[in-house]
Assembly symmetry: C2
Amino acid sequence: MDMNSEANWQRPLFDDRLTPYIEIDAQRLEHNLQRMQKRANEAGVALRPHIKTHKSVWIARRQRELGAKGITVSKPSEGISFIRGGERDLLLAYPVVQAKSITELLRQAAYHCAKITLIADALHGVTAIAEAQRLQPDCELAVAIKVDVGLHRVGVNPDSDDALILAQALKKESLPFAGLVSHAGHAYGAGNLSAISVIAGQEAQLMQSLQHRLHEAGFNFCPVSVGSTPTALAAQVPPGIDEIRPGNYALLDLTACRLGLSQVDELALSVITRVVAVNEHFAIVDAGSKMLSSDKGPHGTNASGFGVAVDEHGNTFDVSKLSEEHGFLIYQGNAPRIGSLLRIFPNHSCAVMAQSDSFVLRHADGHAETEPVSARGNFN
Amino acid sequence: MDMNSEANWQRPLFDDRLTPYIEIDAQRLEHNLQRMQKRANEAGVALRPHIKTHKSVWIARRQRELGAKGITVSKPSEGISFIRGGERDLLLAYPVVQAKSITELLRQAAYHCAKITLIADALHGVTAIAEAQRLQPDCELAVAIKVDVGLHRVGVNPDSDDALILAQALKKESLPFAGLVSHAGHAYGAGNLSAISVIAGQEAQLMQSLQHRLHEAGFNFCPVSVGSTPTALAAQVPPGIDEIRPGNYALLDLTACRLGLSQVDELALSVITRVVAVNEHFAIVDAGSKMLSSDKGPHGTNASGFGVAVDEHGNTFDVSKLSEEHGFLIYQGNAPRIGSLLRIFPNHSCAVMAQSDSFVLRHADGHAETEPVSARGNFN
């Protein structure tokens, strides 16, 4: 990666706890959160951050304090963790295919007076949600229609009549309609800023065109929510969008750097690791795939290695391979010293956060505190 | 993978809990544990299974009941979890580079009368261990010398005098010498059974030759411990080996199948997942990289996808890509039904177990119980 030679990777390293661990730079985090909130405010759109990136109740609270309007979650159990953590307006951006998968979420939401927005992309989902609503009638919920804008994962084909059919089905079930949501995750595979901007523009056009058809069919309330960090950072929010739902922007990672979405000095998450062996082939550190994940980056990105390791002087070493508890670093000339600390910037922050029960929040003065990764392991 | 068409992947699927979750087939697990114990018994060697694969106190206990002599762990905190779980003879197969990383392990070991064997591959490590021993003199410990037999991760070069220098250093520090240990992890990259057998033979020769030099230098007690599932399954244990330390054999995975080490009907771990969306490109399931990991397999293996998904009729679908909470399945002809259950056999069981706080142990009669992944998240 040619970022190695030019960028300034150096950060102070504090030998105050056992390694490896996730360190989040409090100043960089705050900068990243403020930048996205400012961008949303300037565009006049709501920011509903996806918390799957950090899974931290503490970070979500800070996002809310800065102006975020609700949060986005991936799984019902993730939602429950965040309701318990104080969130009261949640979008579950995951298709519901059976009522029982959300009954506990709706029960917790009703108890804590939290509002839940669900998504549907098939009649099967509308039926499941209606059944869940009947089981938990006290929960305030609404249902948005998920639109496939190119990732081909979940969502109706925007050229079909499926969204209209689903909106009618929601009406029939007396489920409040919450508009259209999309996730242009394929933007990660676009490779550069201008290609990502094109995808953001196409997404906005597809969504507005579908919104227009729903308006014509009598669904006058039909807000448009889009969400991905690449499209949110590559260009200004296009006209006609009501809400954005980026997640990764809070922490960023090497994937964001490679796509031109982030500078090295905005990377808020790193893993602090220690050199445990040096041989003529590699320097070995105590962070492996169980800490860093084996992720090469989301959706079509594919890094050559697993991160960049940086020593106290700013020298960098590519993390060329991983075993479960070891990272293999390439070095030329001087190897890092056995026992010394290194900081690894990984490919994919969301994947790293999901490995650990806690992270260390490091402030500018070196002071640090440990915070739980509140929703780690919440798969159901 | 050409295993798809020929092998019988079909297993009963029980819709009795929320998805996704890890299911371990109790019968297959027992078969795998018994087979390895029998192999060790027949060769007259001790089996000290590496518990990093399953991280389960329950499975370790079963390994012990069948005849295992102690366990192998990767990190001190993993060792602490297993001491608390009843293990009393642990090899920490990880280099110690600072005393404070093992003081809590030694304290717990002393309190519970557990014996700890550590490894060293550099003088730095001997010094750190000696310091830790001085801080916890009540802990019964010994130190083995780690030998690099080709993975180039941790270990002394067997052609150098390093092992002799370290054995002398241990003597000087009055640290009991526990012999030689190796891990031929590079066997995973060898590709097939006969190439793996060659590596197992080379490893035994290197270790015996080094043992001979240590004997000549007066270190008469110098047992040899080797350990990896590929070398343990590809060939009978070579002469001159005293202990084997395989881990993956308990659960196995697609990597083991691809290497010819396992039949499909020996795969004890799978992930139960549900179809949440179907479009013209993919069937989407609720297990993504946060559940399955992004692992393509250990050490130089590199699968084309992320697993094989099997429906209730035995039809298979390749898991072609993953996002964090979604798996993308390729289908030809009939897509699996939305809401239906599938079983995914993953590339790398050790990586999957490390994602979850629990697993479901499924017995032959369909009855199931939930067991904790006791040492998940134990990185330090």
